[in-house]
Symmetry: C2
Subunit: 373 residues, 2 copies
């Protein structure tokens, strides 16, 4: 595991600034990872993703297993070459996607049988299978197979957590490649005792990085933050912590001040395709008729290609005219907002002012939440 | 008109290499202009359009008049600023689009009343109105309002040609801005005597550039080439000649050797969105199952971003997975094929080997027309 190295550079309260070295480059944390579900960050070239300053990309094992299939990706030299992303890549385990297929899957202690959302064909994921797929895809960071329960069902949450622990051990045993870091996943719903037990168990298994799964899946914001607080208290300091599927600006800030290092989410790119621009002051609906001849950029303080080049009037025109370029330009902006928020937060941590940064952010974000300013 | 200057650098047979200076930069001809119908080359950023080497862009007066409206474009500083294209822009006159609304328009000698394809609202274009719209949009090159007839109806072709001539004079009289070059349009269907008369009439009106309209609208290839031959024989040497709406590789080559300087067409970008890649050997359907693990680029001889970066396997995956990036990457490639074809042809003209270039092209293009090599 010498190709991986996680080094904490500074700590400020519970927030951390670190460097995480992987075989395909270094990730400066805290960091947000854009999602390339099907080996493509939707509507963006890798050049454009790189230009927003992203270092780590996420791709989805479930989707790539179904299409084009991990064998084709492997034949093409692995995910990095296939999608032309030379930097670090993380693949998820497919667990979340498979469990989202609520009426199309059957779980047992050995694994999950499910039907494809594409053609209804039947497939089976086990911990061993999921590791084999991820080894074929060839990401730098791979994830253990986990079971994600609905947040409020204690019995199911406990059972899913126990399975997740058993599968975590099987994933560790199944892993063959030494140039991939396998992360374990903490589950336990919104139940403090389960979350604490899961954090201890997963940490004790010796994973080089630990993810927090099963949050942002229907629980309240207060419950989510309480779980993050609790888990990061228990987890060891010396390994990266990854909060899965969380990616609004406010959640990133709250996660970082609670000791999270890595995030991923489809939110910025999905919102972009729904005409919503993120800013540090709140969201803007770019379809708003008030922007028809607005010569300002989305955000005058943003340094992205979109804000340096185009007006709100033009973006609104593209949206109304149903031009694909709207999704591209808004995705560039939204990703840049999250990436630059993370790098500014990192700087704040290095300078010991993470709390001030967070409270300033909270104040500004609320003030203009519905804003168009 | 001092901001415009057309200078012939070399002539080889009837093919010409020239420079055409405009207020927003120089166009090296022969040149192909990508089409940004609604002030956006579909699925591409201006950076990407510039990177393929395009110098001149076309935008559509009809579409921009309806949406967002020429007033908004003018308020935003004109088309160059609005769409962030710092180079030369040409707007068409809307004539072709309006006449394509076959059952939604009524022509009289003064102009055309038509119903919008968007919402059925009623509008009227006259030569004066079309010039006013194009002056508000602010392109470098603007076009006279013309009537494009169906190719085989002699009576209608003659009548439409006469109207086109009368409207050409009214356009010249209506024009106010001195930083725009107004091109006249030759009509006349597939009738040699009409085409000859139209060429003489339009040339005599003193336009600084002359377009050939009403071709590639249903006539045979032989008829189209005969009309180009005839018109370029009649037209003066000292002004740019623009063949409107023509843009397949084979038509570009045939046009250039007959003395055409400028072309525009939606073909390369539209084909890209239909999964067809252009090459100098023929077209390739990228959805072809045979490409599923093909590690070659679309064309090993192409220097575009797509061919330098991605395999056919990846492009096919994007297409099958319905990723928008497929349209972007294939558009980049297709435009690069046409732009580099034009610049290679220009070099051949400068070196006095345009005929050899054309005959080599014809031989290779036919040989592999269905090819996947």
């Amino acid at each position: 595991m010498t190709s991986f190295h996680f080094q904490q550079i500074a700590r400020d309260g519970r927030a951390r600034a670190a460097t995480f070295r992987t075989p395909h480059g270094e990730i400066l944390t805290p960091a947000f990872a854009p999602v390339g579900t099907q080996a493509s960050v939707k509507a963006m070239t890798p050049e454009q993703v790189s230009a927003v300053g992203a270092s780590l990309l996420l791709a989805n094992t479930y989707h790539l297993y179904l299409r084009p299939g991990e064998k084709i990706v492997a034949e093409c030299g692995g995910l990095h070459r296939f999608m032309a992303w030379p930097g670090p890549i993380l693949t998820d385990s497919g667990g979340f996607q498979v469990f989202s297929l609520s009426d199309r899957r059957q779980v047992d202690d050995d694994g999950v049988t499910f039907r494809s959302h594409l053609d209804g064909s039947s497939h089976r994921f086990t911990p061993e299978k999921v590791i084999a797929i991820q080894e074929a895809l060839g990401a730098d960071i791979i994830m253990a197979f986990d079971e994600c329960a609905a947040p409020y069902d204690r019995n199911y949450s406990e059972k899913a957590m126990e399975r997740t622990h058993a599968w975590a051990e099987r994933c560790l045993a199944a892993k063959r490649r030494s140039d991939q870091a396998l992360f374990g996943i903490v589950q336990g719903g919104i139940f403090p005792d389960l979350r604490a037990r899961s954090s201890e168990t997963i940490a004790d298994l010796g994973f080089p990085g630990i993810a927090i799964g099963g949050l942002s899946v229907g629980e309240t914001k207060t419950e989510m933050l309480a779980m993050i607080d609790l888990v990061t208290e228990v987890l060891p300091e010396d390994r990266p912590r990854y909060l899965m599927g969380v990616g609004s600006p406010e959640d990133l800030v709250e996660g970082v001040v609670r000791g999270i290092d890595l995030f991923d989410c489809v939110l910025p790119t999905r919102m972009a395709r729904n005409q919503a621009a993120l800013t540090r002051h709140g969201r803007i609906n770019l379809r708003n008729a008030g922007f028809a001849s607005d010569e300002r950029p989305i955000d005058p303080d943003c340094d992205c290609y979109t804000c340096r080049t185009f007006t709100r009037a033009y973006l609104r025109h593209l949206i109304v005219a149903k031009e694909m370029l709207a999704a591209t330009l808004t995705s560039i902006h939204n990703l840049r907002v999250l990436v630059s928020l993370m790098s500014d937060l990192r700087q704040a941590i290095l300078e010991g002012r993470a709390d001030t940064f967070a409270s300033d952010f909270r104040r500004n974000y609320r003030k203009h939440r519905s804003g168009e300013g």
